[in-house]
Symmetry: C2
Subunit: 83 residues, 2 copies
DNA sequence: TTCGTTTATGCTCCCCGGATCATAATCTCT
DNA sequence: AGAGATTATGATCCGGGGAGCATAAACGAA
């Protein structure tokens, strides 16, 4: 069930999923990420057109990183050279 | 040489790399992504705190997607369940 | 070196995300 | 159902990104 994102909304969903898996509240995560609960909520739901900075703050707090992969090869266990 | 990103700057580098691999100019990519050459340049260099929307526009134009992965397991060929 | 292409930047305007504080709405557990 | 925790939102202010257009600077090939 690994997370793939092609839209801001996907990011929001993934972040929420990761947060819940870690049993954190939005408030706790926000604090750790150095942002506001309000912002976490907004990003998880509408995920609007958030700023990259904020997203990376959240990813860092969740100990996640991003892999940039060609769409076609989007199969787990299939990761290889991209460019 | 697959692309990992933990900061906006990483994204900028990855996008530039992908664009060049496809032999596109910033202008061409910008057009395909529906944004401005100016913006492509800014994102590739400073990568500032761009907006998610813009990044996804570029990723789509380059036929790329994002995988969200735990930092520790950040080894190619190692992709598996994340949450 | 010189011409043509590609990329970096200056500037203004507008929009919207995030900070900040507060409260409403929801969910959850008993 | 009721209390307590969690999440969604209202309102305002501010900063910065991207649109839009133009030009300078840098790069590349002949």
């Amino acid at each position: 069930m690994h997370q793939i994102a092609r839209t801001p909304k996907d990011i929001g969903n993934a972040l929420r999923k990761a947060r819940k898996a870690r049993k954190l509240t939005q408030g706790e995560l926000a604090t750790q990420a150095g942002i506001w609960q309000r912002t976490v909520s907004t990003i998880e739901t509408s995920a609007s057109g958030a700023k990259l900075d904020t997203i990376f703050d959240l990813l860092a707090a969740l100990d996640l990183e991003i892999h940039i992969v060609p769409r076609s090869k989007a199969k787990p266990g299939d990761l290889e050279d991209i460019f």
